[in-house]
Symmetry: C2
């Protein structure tokens, strides 16, 4: 473990992934530990989006739906993500937002278990997942109940024979707690329920194997560890055994078996395409498409190994160097139960994070008292971890976070 | 009316909107009459998207949600569209796709009339609108029926006291038929039903006055006459009298009254915001945002006047010069009942359109026998109309459309 800055530099020297950082635009001095909220841009994205603007839209216009492959982007981009989450190349589509995709798969799951009416999730799940379940249940108006548990330890008792679906986020957005996908999925299936995983903080952060765990549905985000750009389109996975069996209510023309036949009646495509809805936002799609090319040379095992080392270093340095300043670890201490982020709780978390940001160390605040730091192994260095702790210590020692300017809250933090 | 090319050039000389074409990227020789499918790019879009990439995402990263106004884009872009459709500046939001937005407003409409179970639409409506209604009705599973009429002349009989909602596209995607929004809305309201208009082929094509017609809900497309780019985000209008009253099932975090409070229970924003769902695709949003700036100097009255003149010229030239070649007008002859497009039917419409496209006159084919030409008044010139007919005549006279290469069908036409 590194105990001074030179040790950290040595770890970077030995890092098998070190060359990948060069692909990213990261200005000098910026210590970006918020890739779990918005991944940074890669240089190739500017070129790809520029080509889409100048050549594809600007010159070729409508013809680009065919000639530039726009029409196939939901599947071609989906295939790149499939490789990161243990899915077959035809089993992932890129479309809409994570929230909209959750609505689709949750509706499909409920339709698979018409005699059951409970949806189980965690109270600490990312709020939009709970909101979507709430909206869907209210509209379905068939007495669906959202049953919230405090921990997956309660699953055994909570998943009874009234439960239609269990929806969980594999890595918790606040604590970074990592669930055992295979074990939980098996338990849910044993109880006769359908399993939905939200991979927002997993895809591109650690190895995921949807097929091996026999997961029914999964959704995930394109703009965090996949670096697809602000509000990048999201993805949806449907187990191949279900693709031709289930339907989803957002049945728009892109989900039709022959969209351009312009038939008045819906005929669902026999593939993952039936989970598409309307026309996808192409500029955002091509940015994500370009951003994903970096993964073809990345070993997910090596990625995870580096992720664990970065997080372990951060925890040990904070606990050692910032001891006595009121920080307490709010993520699992056991690396095997933690994603690629680390949170510390502090009663003044908000202004402390603002003061850190002013020092160009970018993490984020999560209400009510969490300092959250993401360690994306593609571009975060060990020396960044060292320097972040150094800056955190200064903020705490100098108490500069008490300045008024750090107390003002913006719309997005 | 112009009878030769010089007359057309003279009309362009007198055109009050002629300067606007310079804002667009349209390569020499391209005669683009497909802006009703995908509007062309404006020069300002490259700059705006470039700034979003290099500065906002590339340099400022997550901070741009506040500092670059990303978080407010659904409403700031919505306000620009509101000005084009007769809506208050806070009554339009830009989000998701047209299909997804239709699902939201249709669900809201059905929840307003729980004792009625019929949705009325036109058989010739754009298919995705019908598919969405079908998917929604199937999922709601409360005996909803989709009642399709062949013409709005049948509305009187079709809208009985079992009808919850009527959803129509103001300008038909094939024929270009334009409905009388105020009259139809009044008839629907008189029958106690909720009125939903799809403005895909109206917004930016002609003056629309949602408020004056007392419309309940409207949706529309960003990538046709609004020139927002391929798959640009769509818009949704909700009458102010309904915004705080109705709910919609796609209740994601962007529709919450305080998204970043991260509360486990959904609390719908008291504004149009409750019709937002997930994180919007920012690159596609800023392209649309930039594309809309051109409208601030455009009189919609002058726009409509030019649109009518362009369409009238096209009809008269085709009927005069291409007589005897099997073309028949498939759009209303009365300009007051037609949008900004003209269709002709021909039994060999598909290869004829491909041959025209090979001659750089870009219209599109719509199954089974329609040649569709859009006349977007911001950039289409009278000389383009003249030249398009000239090329059409040559294709017909030479019968070059009979070549094998024009018979092959692509995925998107």
């Amino acid at each position: 473990m590194a105990t001074d800055r030179n040790d950290a530099l040595k770890l970077d020297e030995q890092d098998g992934l070190k060359g990948l950082r060069d692909a990213f635009v990261l200005r000098d001095g910026l210590n970006y530990l918020d890739g779990n909220s918005l991944g940074p841009m890669q240089k190739c994205v500017t070129e790809r989006v520029g080509k889409c603007l100048e050549r594809e839209w600007g010159q070729d216009l409508i013809a680009s739906w065919n000639s530039a492959g726009w029409y196939r982007l939901p599947q071609t981009v989906g295939a790149k993500i499939a490789a990161l989450v243990g899915a077959g190349e035809n089993d992932v589509a890129v479309t809409d937002s994570t929230s909209v995709n959750l609505f689709k798969v949750l509706a499909a799951a409920l339709s698979m278990r018409p005699d059951r009416n409970v949806i189980v999730s965690e109270r600490s799940n990312f709020p939009t997942d709970l909101y979507i379940a709430e909206g869907l249940a209210a509209f379905a108006d068939r007495g669906h109940e959202l049953r919230l548990i405090d921990s997956t330890d309660e699953l055994e008792g909570a998943v009874d024979d009234g439960v239609a679906a269990v929806m969980l986020t594999q890595v918790n957005y606040r604590s970074g707690e990592l669930h055992d996908m295979a074990q939980v999925t098996k338990r849910v299936h044993d109880a006769g329920a359908v399993m939905i995983w939200d991979l927002a903080h997993s895809a591109g952060a650690l190895p995921v194997d949807l097929a091996a765990a026999d997961v029914d549905f999964a959704i995930g985000c394109g703009y965090k560890y996949l670096n697809g750009g602000p509000g990048a389109p999201a993805f949806v996975y449907v187990a191949p055994r279900l693709q031709d069996e289930v339907s989803q209510p957002l049945s728009g023309w892109f989900g039709h078996t022959a969209p351009f036949a312009m038939e008045p009646t819906f005929d669902a495509a026999p593939t993952i395409h039936r989970f598409l809805t309307g026309t996808p936002p192409i500029l955002s799609m091509v940015a994500l498409d370009a951003a994903l090319d970096i993964w073809k040379d990345v070993s997910l095992g090596a990625l995870r190994e580096k992720s664990v080392k970065l997080c372990e270093l951060f925890i040990s340095l904070v606990e050692e160097r910032c001891a006595g300043h009121g920080l307490s670890l709010a993520s699992p201490r056991d690396a095997s139960k933690r994603g690629s982020q680390v949170c510390f709780a502090h009663e003044n978390a908000y202004p402390i994070m603002q003061a850190l940001i002013a020092r160009d160390v970018i993490g984020d605040f999560r209400a009510p008292d969490i300092l959250r730091f993401g360690f994306a192994p593609l571009y975060v260095r060990f020396v960044d971890v060292y320097d972040a702790v150094d800056q955190l210590l200064r903020v705490l020692q100098t108490e500069e976070w008490k300045q008024d300017r750090f107390m003002v809250k913006g719309a997005v933090t």
